[in-house]
């Protein structure tokens, strides 16, 4: 039966805001809570992928247990690589800790020879250079903008030094340049590191001729050097390791979100049951006047749909706004990663409206199944 005028689904909700808004509010908070937890959790692997994203531009190879292996590895890769190589460079590295929302993570300052430094910067983290490049053999570094933001340093500051146990270098290593790039990069002169730091072992970075062939080179290197005295560092391996590392964590997250949904659904079911009890007189009257159970059910479910869908949409919008605020105020100043439009986070909230709607439907149907309007008009039920 079509319903015109006063008994549209929105009428009750609009005129009983004191009752309908708390229901919407509970759903909004539940959606914000779930999406917030998942988005913050997702920010960890996102940070790993972002911070170490520089490694997708090349494949890194280090010898294992035999410093002489570097030359053999270079020979193998230059002779057998399945794609044309643009450059193979010998590098060394220094450890530096960067901050993340779960503590300190290791980050490598690459020690590059003068002839490789410009090439590296152009290929890995191109961007405008503020300041200057390091001088050969000098304790000077160039960092990209996100690294400097993360460390809270500026040009002229010292990042490595004799008084820094976790970032040791026998001389104070100053920042002389800042690259305005979103890629996390840090470079230092090769000669300085070779003269002052252990181990005296070169690693290799191999660049494919074209970026699209880099993945092929990475996979080949991984397979080719399996069982050899060499270790391969490739971005796809980092991605795979990250996914595996977080698989168990996401299973725990599934359980937590599941329990949260159950608790919220039970609470909402009880609230809906109370609200329906308060409307028994209305439903009895309408049925006595001649409204069918189906028409009343449809109307109540229309109201529930509006509450649940409205609550979910409002929750997603509020979560999006909140995550943007969190990113702007807490994450961005430290260059921490957070995606306010994290689809996985919003996907995780879908069980909230589905479970609440299912419970609401079951509650309403159970209540109407044996409902007798005469009991209402005779005031036996009110």
């Amino acid at each position: 039966m079509p319903t015109y005028g006063p008994l549209r689904a929105g009428t009750y909700l609009w005129r009983n805001k004191g009752k309908s808004l708390p229901l919407v509010g509970v759903i909004v908070l539940a959606v914000m809570l779930v999406s917030g937890i998942v988005a913050m959790m997702d920010s960890i692997p996102l940070s790993i992928r972002t911070i170490y994203s520089y490694s997708r531009h090349y494949v890194g190879l280090t010898p294992r247990g035999d410093p002489e292996m570097t030359g053999k590895i270079r020979q193998t890769i230059e002779q057998e690589a399945p794609v044309p190589l643009d450059r193979v460079m010998a590098v060394r590295g220094l450890d530096l800790n960067v901050m993340s929302i779960v503590g300190k993570w290791p980050f490598v300052i690459l020690a590059l020879k003068p002839e490789d430094m410009s090439y590296y910067m152009d290929h890995v983290g191109p961007g405008e250079l503020e300041g200057r490049m390091p001088k050969d053999g000098e304790p000077e570094v160039v960092l990209s903008e996100p690294v400097m933001r993360n460390l809270g340093v500026k040009i002229g500051d010292v990042v490595l030094g004799p008084d820094k146990p976790e970032a040791y270098s026998p001389y104070k290593v100053k920042i002389v340049g800042k690259v305005h790039s979103q890629e996390w990069t840090a470079v230092i002169p090769y000669d300085y590191v070779a003269a002052n730091h252990f181990p005296p072992v070169d690693a290799l970075l191999a660049f494919a001729k074209t970026p699209v062939e880099q993945a092929k080179l990475d996979h080949w290197a991984e397979k080719r050097f399996t069982g050899e005295r060499a270790r391969v560092f490739a971005f796809h391996k980092l991605e795979k390791d990250t996914s595996e590392m977080f698989r168990i964590l996401y299973k725990i997250l599934d359980v937590v979100v599941g329990m949260l949904v159950v608790v919220i659904t039970i609470m909402m079911g009880m609230l809906i049951s109370i609200f329906l009890s308060q409307r028994v007189q209305e439903f009895g009257l309408l049925q006595a006047l001649g409204y069918t159970k189906k028409a009343i059910l449809q109307r109540v479910m229309g109201e529930m749909t509006a509450v649940v869908v409205g609550g979910w949409v409002a929750g997603v919008l509020c979560a999006y706004l909140l995550l943007n605020v969190v990113r702007a105020t807490l994450m961005d100043p430290k260059a921490f990663m957070l995606d306010p439009f994290d689809r996985t986070a919003y996907f995780y909230t879908l069980p909230v409206p589905v479970a609440i709607y299912t419970v609401a439907l079951a509650t309403v149907v159970a209540r109407f199944r044996r409902f007798d309007p005469v009991a209402v008009v005779e005031r036996r039920l009110v």
């Binding site: 006063p6 069918t292 209402v376």
Partner: protein
Amino acid sequence: MTSLESASLVYADKDGDVFACHDVSLEVRPGEFLGILGPSGSGKSSLLYLLSGLKVPTQGRALYRGRGLDELSDAERSRLRLQTFGFVFQHPFLVGYLSALENIMVARPDQDCRDESMALLEAVGLGEKSHRLPHELSGGERQRVCVARALLGGPEIVFCDEPTAALDHATGIKVMDLLRSHRGTGSLVVVTHDPTMLEGVDRAVHMAEGRVL
């Protein structure tokens, strides 16, 4: 128009079956004002529920225009009540979040009846209170809204179950006057224990212990 043929309404009780109505035969004729009198517990309300299709006889038959109400589905009986009958109950039940005017419009959900509802509200003397919510009206005013709701659309029969029981005598008389004067060509069936409310009645039946005397 609507009638009962040897109709009984039996409720199961822990002490056995209880006859709310027992072997009742009664017809509501077109346009008549039928009064149903009897003491409390005599089965007057149950009789009204059977005549109006709110209850189906457990024995015997209830008929509308010759067709058994038990042959109709629950939805068909509901449609019959909504489109053909009007109801005034003992307590002035209104939808709490709707205005007086909207509470009248509730009786015809499938059509735009705002003007007719307003005219009826003015006829029962509440034209200026059309936007008031039920809790802003007195008991008598609420029952007058219920009368207007029952009369909307010119129903064939208006069923009234003790419509004045919750009101003082003077207000009760006014409500009955409204029902009599605005029912048009429709029938009026009034259940009451107070004979003074049945002034102008065409026919009155008396009930006792579930039977028409």
